[in-house]
């Protein structure tokens, strides 16, 4: 187990008119090597939860253990925590602060006191991973980029830290489809090759469906459900009731089955749907 969250509660602005209970007795275990999808309606507490994981927010009450280390204790070494857990923020603008893209991405690795050559290598590799051209862009200001380009810089900054646990809060919001597929594809490759643990927060049920092996559902600050991806997406009605949904392709297969066609309805990707339908249509004999 790489992350253990026990009885976690978080209240924003306690004892003020803006008091808000954002996390309500959250208990969660994440195994090493898991690829978790964290879903929930807007305001359900996802960002609040993941910001706890690298010590950015301290619990009101409760305990969080990351890789054997109690990060909620008074004397927790936050530098060490941030090296273990890399967090890409929901709004990348909040993560960019240096005058050039190079400096921005190099900031984390430099803090690890790596040699200049190693820092440069990491920046280059990270930019390559997110599809930003090193020579063209390294000296440009991150603030003069388009929305999607800024997001890539923010992701690169975290990848350059080589964290054990990678937490991505809506990493593809604002990315164009190819950029989204590229970055998610590379994250998946990173996952497969480096054996890291990933937590992906996303409103895109399509992205969640094709990447993660487990889903955690949040609703009003509580964990409302947890399980393997296929199991969770079988519960379409329940998900819709709490602001969520299922991928368009899954929804199509369910409707098609309801019309009396004997096909599987736990399909998660276009590829799976294609195979299932070709078999079905050929067996029906109209292809």
């Amino acid at each position: 187990m790489i992350i253990k969250i026990e009885n976690l509660n978080y209240i924003y602005n306690p004892n003020t008119p803006f008091e808000k209970k954002a996390l309500d007795n959250v208990n969660l275990n994440i195994d090493k090597g898991d690829f978790i999808g964290l879903i929930g309606h807007t305001g359900s507490g996802k960002s609040t939860l993941v910001q706890h994981l690298n010590g950015l927010i301290k619990p009101t009450t409760g305990k969080i253990i990351v890789d054997g280390m109690d990060i909620t204790s008074e004397d927790a070494n936050l530098k060490e925590v941030r090296q273990k857990v890399g967090l890409v923020f929901q709004y990348p603008e909040h993560q960019l602060f240096e005058e050039t893209i190079y400096k921005d991405i190099a900031f984390g690795p430099k803090n690890l006191e790596l040699k200049e050559g190693e820092v440069r290598e990491r920046v280059k590799k990270a930019m390559e991973l997110v599809g930003l051209n090193f020579d063209d862009l390294k000296d440009r200001s991150p603030f003069e980029l388009s929305g999607g380009q800024k997001r890539r810089v923010a992701i690169a900054g975290v990848l350059a830290m080589k964290p054990k646990v990678l937490v991505l809060d809506e990493p593809t919001a604002g990315l164009d489809p190819r950029g989204r597929d590229e970055i998610l594809g590379r994250i998946q490759k990173l996952y497969e090759e480096e054996g890291i643990t990933i937590i992906l927060v996303s409103h895109s049920m399509e992205d969640i469906a094709r990447l993660v092996n487990r889903i955690v559902v949040m609703h009003k600050g509580k964990i409302a459900g947890e399980g393997p991806t296929k199991e969770i997406f079988k519960q379409a009605e329940e998900l819709e009731k709490i602001g969520l949904g299922i991928p368009q392709i899954t929804s199509f297969m369910r409707k098609y089955k309801l019309e009396g066609n004997k096909v599987r309805d736990d399909i998660l990707t276009v590829k799976e749907a294609k195979e299932e339908l070709i078999n079905y249509l050929r067996s029906r004999g109209n292809a």
Binding site: N13, H203, F252
Partner: protein, 277 residues
């Protein structure tokens, strides 16, 4: 020209900070006419110039070359700045750039207040706008303390309360949950169909583009495809080459056709595909 809400003639835009060595124009010789009451969707990969185009459409940026007209008013005409902003309201890509007040309802009221609307009417509009985006229970909250999706809803309410004839939305659903997205899209559709608002909607979600009257695809500051959603998305290969995508059911239909299964090539929705099979 009366029938056009927005007209762009040979418009070019270059960011001054792009540097002398850069040959890149953010917008390069664009001609567009957006009809009154039209629902236009703009697609294109990151950095293709969509947000720049949107800002040119309500005078936030002025063209380096060429002219932009909003309801017949040239955006270069300094006397018309306020009329133009009142006619064409914009929801920005990052809602943080749009929040001005410290309380949600004041933020939503900011636009109509500047328009000099009587306060009773403002009250009505603010309540209605917050109801449409389902943020009524947060009206006394501080906007900067909201979640990402909640901020986006407030930003949309702020524009709704101004009741502009034309609404420009730059990725309005990027941070919304699936049901929230459906709600905003149905709100946009209602504004267009019932209130006859002109809508310019920038998005990376292909299933949202399906709802439009017309789709434009941008690439390096130019318009490279134009047509109805059906015309655009039936060109699966070309759309993908431009770094975009098609709805999942459109892709499935396309893949099945390639395998020799007999279905129409212009499927856009779940219902259409169920029927076709």
């Amino acid at each position: 020209m009366e029938q056009y809400m927005i007209k762009m003639e040979n418009v070019k835009y270059e960011y001054s900070s792009m540097g002398e060595d850069s040959q890149l124009m953010a917008i390069n010789s664009i001609n567009i006419a957006v009809k009154k009451g039209e629902h236009l969707v703009i697609l294109g990969h990151n950095g293709s110039g969509k947000s720049t185009l949107a800002k040119l459409m309500n005078g936030l940026l002025l063209p380096t070359e060429g002219n932009v007209y909003v309801n017949n008013m040239n955006t270069k005409d300094e006397d018309k700045v306020w009329d133009i902003r009142e006619t064409a309201g914009m929801v920005f890509q990052n809602p943080d750039n749009q929040m001005v007040a410290t309380i949600v309802e004041e933020d939503v009221a900011f636009g109509p207040e500047n328009q000099g609307i009587p306060s009773l009417e403002i009250r009505k509009r603010v309540d209605e706008a917050l109801r449409i985006v389902e943020m009524t229970e947060y009206k006394k909250h501080a906007p900067h303390l909201l979640s990402g999706g909640q901020k986006q809803r407030v930003a949309i309410a702020g524009i709704l309360a101004m009741r502009p004839d034309c609404i420009i939305l730059d990725e309005p659903t990027a941070m919304l949950d699936p049901i929230g997205r459906l709600e905003i899209i149905s709100t946009i559709k209602k504004l267009n169909k019932i209130e006859k608002k002109t809508i310019v909607h920038i998005t990376h979600y292909m299933d949202e583009a399906v709802e439009a009257d017309r789709v434009l695809v941008m690439e390096q500051g130019e318009i490279v495809m134009e047509g109805t959603p059906r015309e655009i998305f039936s060109q699966v290969e070309k759309v993908k080459r431009l770094g975009l995508d098609v709805p999942q059911v459109t892709e499935l239909a396309y893949e099945l056709r390639k395998e020799g299964i007999n279905i129409p090539s212009q499927i856009l929705t779940v219902e259409e595909l169920v029927k076709a099979l």
